[in-house]
Each structure stands twice: as C-alpha cells, then as structure tokens.
Subunit: 136 residues, 4 copies
C-alpha cells in the first residue's frame, strides 16, 4: 500500500458542501501515480521509455462519508491484480484527522502500446510492480 | 430514456488525447439533471421545495472507446430502480456521428433530508419519476 | 458575436453555492470553440489540417454576479483582435432567464506550429476569422 | 510569500500535453489557502467563525511556459494589497526542478458577510494577514 496525502480545495467541492463525486477519481489517479513512483515505475517514464499506456477500462467508487473543504485526506493505493495485459488498483480515501473511511473503489487498466494495441506488460515494469505489491 | 447532448471541450481531455476518465461522471450528472427535468422533477426544485437531496453512494463506469475533443456525445439516462429511499440511474454515452458506444455505467443515490437523515422519497416526486420511467 | 448556451451542473459549483471561478475559463473555451466553428474554422481542423495551435498566453475574468446550479448561461464570444501571429477573444457570460451579465473577460492566444514555434496565422484561416468578425 | 507544492496529474492536462489553462486558477486557490493557513487565518475558520467570505471579483493569468504531467510545481503566493473590504493576491507558478517560471497572475477578492453584503475585513483577521505580509 502506498499513501498519498491530498488537501481538499474549494474547487473540489460542490454546492452540497462536500467533494464532488467525480473528483474522487482525480484522487485515485494521484494515488496511482504515487504508487507507480514508489515502485520505481513512474508513469511518465513508462509512457516515454517503454511506449506503454495504461488506459482505464473500468472505475468504481463507493462513497461512505463526505470529504469536505480543507480536509487532509490520504489515498491508500494497492495493486490488487497484475495480469499479462491488465492491472487492477484498489483505493481507500481516509480523512487523516480521525482516520474515517470516506470512500473506496477500484480501477482496471489495460496495457496498450502507442498504436493503441493491447500488449503484454513489459517484464521490467512487471517486476517493479510485483516488488512494490509483495515486498517480501 | 432521456437523451442529453454534450460537446467535448479541450478542458475535458487529457494528454492521452481523449476525455479524462473522471469527466464521464460529469457527463452522467448532466444526463441525470435532464432526466429529472424531463420528469418534471428538476433537481433544483427537489432540493429547494422538498428539502430532499440525492447524494451519490456508488458510481461505476465501463470505458468502451475513447471520446475525443469536439465529439458530440449523447448521454442516454434511464432510471433503472426506484426504491423507498434510493434511486439507481444507468447511463450510456454514445458518439452521435457514428452511434458508437463510448462508455456506460450507473450511479446509486440515497434520498436524504437537509439534516442528512435518510428519508422516504416524497410520493409526488416518486410519481413523477415513475411516470418518466414507464411512460405507458 | 457568437452565442453558446451552457447549462450549469453541480460539478461546476463549489460550496459557496455558485460556479467555481476557474470554470468560467471552461465556459470561455466552449464559446471560443463555437466561434471558430461558426467561422468555418473548427479548431479540430485548424490543428489537424494546418498543424496550427492557439495556446493561451493570457486570460482574464471579471466576476460580476454569481452563476448558480441549473442556470442556463449564454457565452457571447467575439474576436476582438486578429494580428499576424496572435488572436484576442472577448467573452460575456449572461444568465438567459433575466439577461443579467454574470462575468466578462478575454483571452489572448499565440499562433504556433507543431514544433511550438510562433508562426503567422495561415491566410485561409485568417480570412475565415475576419469574415466572422466583420460580417459586412 | 508562502510556497505550496503541487504535483501535476493527468487530470490537470489536456490533449496539447500541457496543463489546461483553467487549472492554474485551481493552483492559485491552493496557494491562497496555504497563505491564509500560514497567516493563522485558515479560510475554513474565517468562514465558520467570522461569517466572512472572500469571493473572487477578478482573476488574471499570464502563461509563460507550459507545466506538464508529473511536474512538481511551486505556487508562490503573496498578499499584494489589503484594503478595508478587499484583498489582492499575486501568484507565481514555478517548476521546481529547474526553477523556471511557468505562469503568474493575480486575484482580487471582496470581503462579504453571509448575507452577501460587502463588509469591512474584521480587524483580528486583518492583523494576521498584515503580519504574514510584512513579517518585519
């Protein structure tokens, strides 16, 4: 699990006074980026050096409790599944001041090349991800 | 089913050259608003006159094919389930120029009052929604 | 002047109950796109066929009166200045139900090629824009 | 000057491969929040305890050089002017790895109460802001 802290701004909220539901997918992306960075597989480099993209094929969010303006939330990101040509991340969004679970969800990603064809995840990247996932 | 047309702007896209995955939830919301308006239950009025809110408790998107800048997409919104204190909408996002399905998904909403307590959907609103759902 | 109607969604608002200030720049972009389309110079085609981009070099917004959820606003877009290698658009955002001016502003754009070098606006595009600007 | 670091995510970019122009206003807001926090006048508290809001009445951005995905940018926020019933912040957005200036701009804010009437900035808040602005 890789933690990422995010401070909620006004621009994340809506007139219900809580974080707008789409913005949790932004939080998930920030968490995913930090997971990949922690694994030594920064997504910027995966794209630039390996010509590999991880487009989202499915996203799911369950909203437990609203995040509010100025909350410091922690996104906890885990690589739950690593297949030949796809990845599945799971996320928990927790409010840091009372550790309350605000939302959880997952995303599934394909692995494609620049021509947008599905390809096998390159072994050097797969190894880095496995090491981050199962650090034992 | 209620259709809502949306023109994709630059601000909806990301550097992969396609609509950013979180923005489909904005499209779904636009579709939901138009569904409620078509039913005669504009959400603005549901909030203001009945003191009822429909916060999202779950959202799901399956991404089939990317939407791109300047595409005119049609969100097709259906009320799939209407329970005592919750609603479930389903959505299909279709590119209008070739009728290709780009994404589909659903959202589940609670029905709460201003004190954020779950409440039964007021009968006048439930009737309007049933009429829109089953127009026979 | 080219008008573009936009329906304000929940996702555009913030917890002050009004449209978040950054989102007016999204509205301006929607207006700019429709201006170019009306001129016969769809930005998608300007990019794809002429290899020309119009990155923003300055943006300004003056906020007069707040736009709110479910408002139908009209963005009025005008090409105020057309130089050799730059354009300046002005915008007025008006609430349609009472014609109240909500915001106004401008953007300045450079004209660059794919190599990100400043270039002269191609004459065929310049002609289309002049025709839209001064339809006399 | 108060610095705030922000990591650019995919959701901040557009298909030109750079940060979408409206998102700099989100960066400015994050900087403004941290300025107020550093001053001991967290905006959340200004709202809740003093019943004071700082709606934006003008925003301006000059775009010097594009920010890109995964850049770590620093927003440098300064309170440039503190009048009886208004504030003016200036911002510089700098890429941290080479200290390149990416954008700069300002926002002007009114001081209003919950009834949306212009009011004088409460003296305790004004004092905190002056102390942060001129720490000598």
């Amino acid at each position: 699990m890789v933690p990422t802290n995010i401070r909620v701004i006004y621009g994340d909220t809506d007139q219900m006074g809580v974080v707008y539901y789409a913005n949790y997918l932004r939080f998930f992306e920030a968490g995913r980026n930090e997971f990949l960075r922690a694994a030594g597989a920064r997504y910027r480099h995966v794209e630039a050096e390996h010509g590999i993209l991880f487009p989202v094929v499915e996203a799911n969010v369950v909203y437990r409790h609203p995040a509010r303006y100025d909350d410091l939330v922690r996104v906890e990101t885990t690589l739950a599944e690593l297949k030949r040509a796809s990845l599945r991340f799971t996320y928990r969004v927790v409010r840091t001041d009372d550790e309350r679970l605000l939302a959880e969800g997952h995303t599934v990603h394909a692995c494609i090349d620049r021509a947008h064809k599905p390809v096998r995840l390159p072994e050097p990247i797969a190894e880095l991800l496995r090491a981050q996932t199962l650090p034992g």
